[in-house]
Amino acid sequence: MPGTRSNQEWLDALSNQGIQQEIALEELRRLLLRAALFTLVTHLADLHEMPEEERLALAEECAQEAMMTVLVRLGDFRGDSKFTTWAYKFGINIALSRARRWRWKQVSLDDLADDDGTLNWFQRDERLQTADSEQPVRQREVVEVIREVLRTQLTARQRQTLKLIAFDNVPMDVVVQRLDSNRNAVYKLLHDARLKIKQQLVRRGYDLAEVMDLFQ
């Protein structure tokens, strides 16, 4: 039963040699398999087209990968959470990442490339919503500021990443995989883009709370 060992007992058992370590490793393996199974069950829509037997194999692979991660990172555990919560997160992180990549594996991101230069993608939903009515003037002004920052102050990579993740709803893990990058680097691209837009709005005298209200 998980939760019956204290954090220190987990660490001692996993760092020891012999039968105690073997028992702890088996318990950890089961715990991580549960995390992977639970994650995949909560995201079944991502696995819609995956054959049943492959789903179980995927859960086992994720548990195995998480086991290696946990053992490599055991020295990072500071005891500021339960050991089981700390271990579960690696199983969840790996399983969700794999499920997202499976769902998107047939989709070419080239088809979503920002290649027409009009930057209309960032407001296409609004255009649909307001097709029969005039968009309020202030809202349109803000949209123009954002469009200008997108065009003149962001790099092509920042613009493309922002489009894919924030406007095409492509999961970051899929973008990371296709760009052969990592989450931190892609998150930084998004953060820099948001920050530039925010700074430009402030510089032009906009009150950001009011801007947000305009779009609610």
Partner: protein, 91 residues
């Protein structure tokens, strides 16, 4: 009202901070965040930088939500057994 991507994005621009933690730091802290939430109910007050990242980052937020569900079930001793999960996975 259904929130459009632009509505969500404008909110994220509004909530942008000069410095934000990375996804790796978020992963490092999220287990502490979840356990604080379960034990004290005030994780956001104690680890505001994690809350800020979770509000900005869809993938980290989804992982946090699953972790929270699992940790709550464990705390309540209601963890599903593997056979149950395997059956659900096959549906």
């Amino acid at each position: 009202m259904v929130k459009t991507n632009l509505t969500k994005f404008v909110r994220r621009v509004h909530d942008t901070r000069d410095t934000e933690i990375s996804c790796s730091v978020c992963l490092d802290l999220v287990s502490q965040y979840v356990d604080l939430e379960i034990s004290t109910g005030d994780a956001a007050g104690k680890l505001p930088q994690v809350k800020q990242h979770l509000d900005q980052c869809q993938v980290c937020s989804e992982e946090y939500q699953v972790l929270r569900q699992l940790a709550v079930l464990e705390a309540e001793q209601r963890l599903p057994i593997d056979e149950e999960l395997i059956n659900q996975l096959k549906k």
